[in-house]
């Protein structure tokens, strides 16, 4: 068999906004906005340089409601750039950019092969080797049928690659679409399964590889860490996967230990150093900064000022440093004297089920005008609220005990 090399990219979510950040300095807005485009461009540039045999894009190229013209235009440009290099691109649409939408259709260059709503297999020849790529596009937003049933079984001696935008069994983080089990895919006997839909990169099965490359740029504080895509080499049923980071910036959490810091300038310098060393390693990032290991002296210092003020101070210093580093959130891990009250409260709160939550919050959620902007009450939300509750309660108690 010949060696084939290709890029496996998914969940571009072009022009999607970054959700969950509010405290961004204005001058960084544009970069954040453009981050998906930048990540996409990074991927295209990489493809032009490394000249793979073909590129697979497995769904969610756009963000659904926001199939902006600009996104489509830039995507088309990217495809044309690949067309000049004679790199074929195989695209299937996922739940966010499904085929039943009402958006302006852009003409893509002939190197781009888009899968239709029915499962089909496209074949290409690479150094006399037949490569069959099977996939389908979401015809509507909700595809609940296990689409893998329609995928053909591989014939030996020819390379079969499957593209599937859907949820592996057991993953409920994202909507459960086109579900499948690992064993279902293994049954087909393909040499590689290019998956999409789950934004967290994971390799479900090593050999043959069944891979979620994750999205190429994080769009939410929950999508932390390095984002990118995979470059895959298939040779004689052996697969080599190389992860290529492509994000314009990453979202991450950073803990800084503040041991023995008494004075404010000490603190700021220490934080700045930590942050700059971080940015040297990881490049641009949006961080949730946590100050840890706070000893007594530092407590005094930190408590002297409002947490928000500290936050602003840190941001300002970062701007002077001119990296793209944004501290989105500042947590100060005071050694907590957990009051029994808060423990009690929290323990009882933790036993609440979803309906109890809904009941408690219904005042707000039933608000006609505002309810649509609200986040749904899911586990993540509840955890967040609990955390907030604890800190608030403690704050009150602490302040109460001090009074």
């Amino acid at each position: 068999m010949a060696r084939i090399r290709f890029l496996h990219v998914a969940d571009l979510h072009l022009d999607s906004p970054f959700k969950g950040i509010s405290t961004i300095p204005k001058n960084k807005w544009k970069e954040i906005r453009e981050s998906t485009f930048q990540a996409f461009q990074n991927m295209i540039n990489y493809a032009i340089e490394s000249k793979p045999d073909f590129v697979l894009i497995v769904g969610d190229i756009y963000d659904g409601e926001n199939r902006s013209l600009r996104a489509q235009h830039l995507f088309q440009k990217g495809m044309e750039a690949l067309h000049i290099e004679n790199i074929p691109v195989y695209v299937c649409h996922g739940n966010h950019d499904h085929l039943s939408g009402n958006w302006a259709r852009f003409q893509l260059p002939p190197n781009v092969h888009v899968f239709g709503e029915k499962v089909e297999t496209k074949t290409l020849l690479i150094s006399e080797e037949k490569v069959h790529i099977t996939g389908f596009s979401y015809k509507e937003r909700h595809i609940l049928e296990p689409m893998h049933n329609h995928y053909p079984i591989a014939e030996h001696d020819e390379i079969y690659i499957g593209m599937l935008h859907g949820s592996v069994e057991g993953n409920n983080e994202h909507d459960v679409y086109a579900p499948f089990k690992k064993s279902d895919l293994l049954e087909k006997g393909y040499q590689y399964w290019a998956l999409g839909h789950i934004h967290k990169r994971q390799i479900i099965h090593p050999d043959p590889p069944i891979v979620y490359p994750g999205n190429i740029q994080s769009r939410h504080r929950n999508e932390s860490g390095i984002k990118g895509f995979y470059e895959v080499s298939l040779f004689n049923t052996q697969a080599e996967l190389q992860f290529i980071p492509s994000a314009a910036f990453i979202y991450d959490e950073l803990s800084i230990d503040c041991v023995g810091i008494i004075h404010a300038n000490e603190l700021m310098t220490h934080i700045e150093n930590e942050l700059s060393s971080y940015s040297e390693i990881h490049g641009k990032a949006i961080l949730e900064l946590t100050l840890n290991s706070i000893t007594d002296e530092t407590i005094e210092l930190l408590q002297s000022t409002n947490k928000d003020d500290w936050h602003v101070l840190i941001q300002e210093s970062l701007e002077q440093a001119n990296n793209f580093l944004i501290v989105k959130e500042l947590y100060i891990n005071f050694p907590i004297e957990k009051s029994p009250e808060s423990t009690m409260l929290l323990s009882s709160l933790m036993e609440w089920n979803t309906s109890e939550w809904k009941l408690a919050l219904k005042e707000l959620y039933q608000h006609s005008k505002g309810s649509r902007y609200l986040q749904p009450i899911d586990q993540g939300f509840m955890d967040e609220v609990l955390k907030e509750a604890e800190s608030l309660v403690l704050e009150v108690i602490a302040r109460g005990s001090n009074n």
Partner: protein, 904 residues
């Protein structure tokens, strides 16, 4: 848990005190200022920590130098003996928890032993003091309820504070119908943003229709293009038509003319072919006639011999050779004959016979070899006999001689000795011979006279022979004696033989004479003279034989001759037959030959003529056929032209030529027309103007479209590059995030509030009835059933129901009853917590206001309670020491260092 032992290092006024405690009631009796409260505080301090320096509570640090602190031994809920020691250390003291397994712990472990109860929690439930009881009064019903109820849940006060604060803050964040609260504001902002965004989207919405319109325009323009092309094409067609019109008209005319002559068919190249054929035909005809003439001229005049005859003649002529042969043979034979005859005559002559007479006899004579042989043998025999005779005679002579010799020899033999000299004499002889030879040879050489040499040699030879002979004879004399004997014998034998010999001789002689006679007889038979010598006989025979032979030959020749003559005759006859005239024999063949040649020639001539004739005839036939074919061809041509006659044919030709010309003209016109079919009526004259007007219109339309297209292109391009949409979106998201932060805060507060409320409710619904029941029971007990019920009204306030059925709110009760109610409630609460927090109940003289009866009641109650609960009762009333039977009483006043003071 139960307290087992108290060990005070230094606390208040106590130093190094140990106090042992029982499970049930422990009464601490002491007068005022002995340190009862101190001990109470000690327990609380050790368990819950020394209070902060600036706190309201006293620390009770010893004024003396004693160590501040102490330890308490307890049995915890798991029946473990644990020691809790607290000494001075940090603000709340340094606490160490000693476990039975040797391990130690600190605040954390202590806290868990104490079920996370804080001092206030504990005091709120398990510590009964007058102050507290009186404090109850001051509370509102709700506070009271809450205090009572939620004392089980720790720190309800804090929670209350929390709740209040949160409610307040929530109000600042969100009100369902408000506008000022932050969340409300945020929502409003979001709405506005969203509307703006939608506007944006609407703009974007235009993109696709714009694209569609662009495509539409494109198609329109294309259509226009087509139309334009069409129209201009039509225009062009018209112009072409105009050009072609005259041609077309001409075409029609030509067509018409052509129709007239269309029918005419004519063989291609007809005239030429016709004339060619005609010409050929004529020539052919001439040839035929010529042939005819020639044919007629050839006649056969003479006859001649048939070929057979000629052949025979020729074969005969071949025998000329034979003829000549025969002739020559004849001559030859005749010559030979004469020759042999001559020969014969010679022989005869030799033989000496007269041939004329004796020829016959000779011929007939037997001259066979036998005879000759016989004769010869006879002669030979005769001769032999003679020789023999001679021999014998000679022999005889010899023998006689021999005899003589022998006799001689005998005599001589005696003379031996002289033999040796002879040897010398030999040598001399040899010498002489040699000399002779030498001389002879030299002479011979010098004189070249061989004869001399030879003679010399011969002489020497003779000499030698003679000498040897002599020697031999001499030699013979050597062997004399034996030799003599022998000789004698020989003598005898010799004599015998001599006599025999003589006999033989006689015989021989007789024979000889006989034979001679025979010979003579023989000779006469041959007519030969008797004088013939026998030696001539063979010769004679030979001759005779020869003669006979010759004769035979002659005869043979004769017959041969005859044969040849016969043959010649035959041939001549044959020749004669063949010819009509006479032939001479000499010139036979010559004449015959001439004749033959003549005849042959004639025959050949004849043959030639004949072949010529047949040739000519054949040719004639051919030509006739050819002529026929020519005629046929001409007929065919006529047929093709549909005529019968030559003149018609020519006419047809001319018509056809016209036709061809017309066709050519038509073809030419067609070429000019370029294969374009047009009708004469295709277009009207105004067509041109119409077309041009239309074209103009189309172009104008196209301009309009193009303009629109350009502007739409610009707009769509702008849309593509427009960033505002995504900016708006980002902003929207940002706002949402901000909202989320607020919502989070609000939600947190809300859920806490709700949780607190829930807990309250829970307590109300679950805990409260339980507690109330108990409280009611106690109250009944305490009031000696004066009151039957202690309930919580639906409004949330406590009510008592007297046995009489009257209801009294707690506020309406008397002081003591109030206290009783409180105590009941508190006790009920403390008891109800037995499961969760089995602490000892500490009472600090709470029953001072009770009368005797009621006091008795309470004592009774406590006596009951102490079965399950450890009670610590601090009092300064003397008789309280004795109210409980099995209580352990501690005399606080008499506590001495390291002394266990249990006084019964």
């Amino acid at each position: 848990m139960k307290l087992v032992k108290l060990q005070i290092y230094g606390f208040g006024k106590h130093e190094n005190i140990e106090i042992n405690l029982n499970n049930g009631i422990n009464v601490f009796y002491g007068e005022n200022e002995v340190g009862k409260t101190t001990i109470q505080q000690f327990i609380l301090h050790i368990l819950f920590g020394f209070p902060q320096r600036n706190a309201q509570l006293l620390r009770y640090e010893p004024k003396s130098s004693a160590t501040y602190g102490g330890k308490i031994e307890i049995i915890d809920d798991q029946e473990r003996f644990i020691t809790i020691e607290r000494v001075k250390g940090k603000a709340s003291g340094e606490v160490t928890v000693y476990f039975p397994d040797g391990s130690r712990g600190g605040e954390k472990e202590l806290s868990s032993i104490l079920h996370s109860y804080s001092r206030t929690d504990f005091e709120a439930i398990f510590s009964f003091s007058l102050l507290q009881l009186q404090g109850f009064e001051k509370m509102t019903e709700e506070e009271l309820t809450r205090t009572l109820l939620s004392s089980g849940t720790t720190g309800i006060d804090t929670l209350a504070i929390v709740e209040n604060k949160f409610i307040k803050e929530m109000g600042e964040l969100f009100k369902p119908t408000g506008r000022k609260p932050l969340i409300n504001q945020k929502i409003e902002e979001l709405r506005q943003l969203e509307t703006a965004y939608k506007h944006q989207l609407e703009e974007v919405e235009k993109y696709e229709p714009s694209i569609k319109r662009l495509n539409e325009l494109e198609t329109f323009i294309q259509k226009l293009d087509l139309q334009e092309k069409d129209t201009s094409k039509q225009l062009q067609q018209y112009l072409e038509w105009e050009q072609l019109k005259p041609l077309k008209e001409k075409e029609t005319i030509v067509h018409q003319e052509l129709d007239l002559v269309k029918h005419q068919t004519f063989p291609p190249d007809g005239i030429r072919r016709f004339e060619l054929i005609k010409d050929k035909s004529n020539r052919n005809q001439i040839e035929i006639e010529q042939l005819k003439k020639e044919l007629d001229s050839l006649t056969i005049h003479t006859t001649s011999l048939t070929s057979r005859q000629l052949e025979g003649l020729q074969s005969y002529l071949n025998r000329e050779a034979e003829w000549h042969q025969l002739h020559s043979k004849r001559i030859q034979i005749e010559e030979e004959q004469s020759k042999i005859l001559q020969n014969q005559m010679q022989q005869l002559a030799l033989v000496g016979v007269d041939w004329e007479k004796s020829l016959q006899h000779i011929v007939q004579a037997d001259v066979s070899i036998q005879q000759e042989d016989k004769l010869v043998t006879t002669l030979q025999t005769e001769k032999n006999l003679e020789l023999e005779l001679q021999q014998e005679e000679r022999l005889l002579q010899m023998k006689e001689q021999d005899l003589l010799h022998l006799q001689q020899r005998v005599i001589e033999s005696k003379k031996v000795n002289k033999s040796s000299s002879t040897q010398q004499g030999n040598k001399v002889m040899f010498g002489i011979i040699a000399a002779i030879v030498l001389v002879g040879v030299i002479i011979g050489f010098t004189q070249s006279n061989w004869i001399v040499a030879l003679t010399a040699i011969i002489i020497s030879g003779i000499v030698y022979v003679g000498f040897t002979f002599m020697m031999n004879t001499l030699k013979q004399s050597n062997d004399v004696q034996t030799y003599a004997d022998l000789l004698k014998k020989e003598q005898q034998s010799q004599q015998q033989s001599i006599s025999r010999l003589k006999q033989n001789i006689n015989e021989l002689e007789s024979k000889k004479t006989y034979i001679s006679q025979q010979v003579n007889e023989f000779l006469t038979s041959y007519h030969i003279s008797e004088q013939l010598s026998p030696s001539l006989l063979p010769e004679l025979f030979k001759r005779l034989r020869m003669i006979q032979e010759q004769q035979i030959q002659l005869d043979q020749m004769e017959t041969k001759l005859y044969e040849v003559r016969q043959r010649i005759q035959e041939l001549y006859k044959q020749a004669q037959e063949k010819v009509s005239f006479d032939l001479s024999e000499d010139m036979l063949f010559h004449e015959l030959r001439e004749f033959y040649l003549e005849e042959k020639k004639k025959s050949e001539d004849l043959q030639y003529k004949e072949t010529r004739i047949s040739e000519l005839q054949k040719k004639h036939k051919e030509l006739l056929l050819l002529q026929q074919s020519f005629t046929e061809q001409i007929h065919l041509l006529y047929g093709e032209a549909n005529v019968d006659m030559e003149s018609d044919y020519y006419t047809a030709n001319s018509i056809n030529e016209k036709k061809v010309e017309l066709e050519r003209e038509l073809h030419h016109i067609h070429l000019q027309l370029g294969g374009k079919q047009i009708n004469l009526n295709d277009f009207e004259h105004l067509f041109e103007d119409e077309c041009k007007a239309k074209l103009l219109q189309l172009q104008q339309q196209r301009h309009i479209y193009n303009d629109e297209k350009a502007s739409l292109s610009y707009q769509t391009k702008k849309l593509l590059e427009d960033e505002e949409q995504s900016e708006q979106l980002q902003l929207l998201e940002q706002k949402k995030a901000e909202l989320h932060e607020l919502v989070k805060k609000w939600a947190a507060q809300k859920v806490v509030v709700e949780s607190i409320k829930q807990m309250m409710r829970q307590l109300k619904e679950e805990r409260l009835p339980e507690v109330l029941e108990n409280a009611q029971y106690y109250f009944q007990l305490l009031t000696n059933n004066a009151y039957e019920q202690l309930i919580l009204s639906p409004e949330g306030s406590f009510e008592t129901v007297k046995a009489t059925g009257q209801r009294f709110k707690i506020a309406e009760l008397s002081q003591a009853t109030k206290e009783q109610a409180y105590i009941s409630l508190r006790l009920a609460l403390a008891v109800s917590l037995q499961g969760k927090a089995p602490f000892p109940i500490i009472m600090d003289d709470p029953f001072v206001h009770f009368d005797r009866v009621r006091l008795q009641q309470v004592v009774q109650l406590m006596a009951e309670l102490q079965k399950e609960h450890q009670l610590l009762y601090f009092t300064c009333h003397h008789n309280m020491q004795y109210v409980w039977e099995d209580a352990s009483v501690i005399q606080v006043g008499t506590l001495l260092p390291r002394k266990v003071g249990i006084v019964k």
